[in-house]
Amino acid sequence: MNKIILPELGEGITKATIACWHVKVGDKIAVGQEVCEAVTDKASFVIEAPAGGVLKSVSVGEGQEGLVGGTLGIIE
C-alpha cells in the first residue's frame, strides 16, 4: 500500500485544495503518473503517483482541502 501525500509546498503553507483528479478509483496507474492537481491561491501543483498500482481510494475529493503531509489517496 502506498499513500499519495500532499507534499510540503513551502514555509507557512499548511493546506491546499484539490482542483481535480486525473484518475479515478480502480484505475491502474504508473509510478510518476500525474494523478491530481492541488491549488493554493493562484498556484497549482501537479502531484504524481509515488508508486505504480491501482488507485484504491481517494480521501480528498475535488474541491476539498487537504493538509500538507496528509493522505490524498491510496495506491495498492
Binding site: G10, G12, A43, S44, F45
Partner: protein, 210 residues
Amino acid sequence: MNKRIIVEDWGLIEYPKSFERQRALVQKVQEGEEDFLVLCEHPPVLTLGRMTNPQSLLYQREDIEARGVLMTKVDRGGDVTLHAPGQLIVYPIFNLNKQGKDLKIYMQKLEELAVDLLKNFGILAISISGKRGVFVGEDKIISIGVGIRKWVTYHGLGINVNTDLSLFNLIKPCGLNVRMTSIQKLKGHQMAMEDVKIKTIDLFQKEFCS
C-alpha cells in the same frame, strides 16, 4: 540560484500554441536544461481554469466570441483570466529544485519583482496579503498565476501595459469583483512594450541569477 536564464521572445502567439511550447520547455528544464524566461503577447483569449465559476463569465459565449475573443479551457487551477495584445505575458520556466522548493518564496519573489518593475515606470504598486497579483490602490495591474510540475514552474505574469481594458468587462477576472488597470491608463499614454520587456528581463536576471 540559477547560473543563467535563457530568454525567448515569442512575439504575438496564439495561447494554445504557446502552451504547447511552454510544456516542451518544462520538459527540457526537468531534464536538466537551463531555465527559460519567455516573453510574449496573446491575441484576445479567455482562459478558463479548472475552478472556473460559470458566473465569472458575464456574457454568453457567442457574444464573447463576437468581440473577437476566443475561449479555451486550460490545464491550471483558478478561475477565468483574459489575455490580449498590449498585455506582456511572462512565463518563467524555472527549476525550483535548485532554489529550495518553496512555492511561497517563489510567489513572493514574483510579486516583489512586479512591484519593482512598476516602480521603474513611476507607478507605486503593492501586493496585498491573501490576494495574488499586484495592485495600484484597489485596481489590479498585474495578474500572477503559477503552475508547478516536478518543481519546475510554468504560467506566470500578465502585465497590463497597453491592454484594451474594456475587454475585462466580459468577465469577473479570477472570479473577483476587481477593476483592472494598466500602465497606459495610469501614465496617460502608451508605453513602449520593448522598454517594459528590457526592464523585466533585467529584474529577473537580478532576482533569480547568481
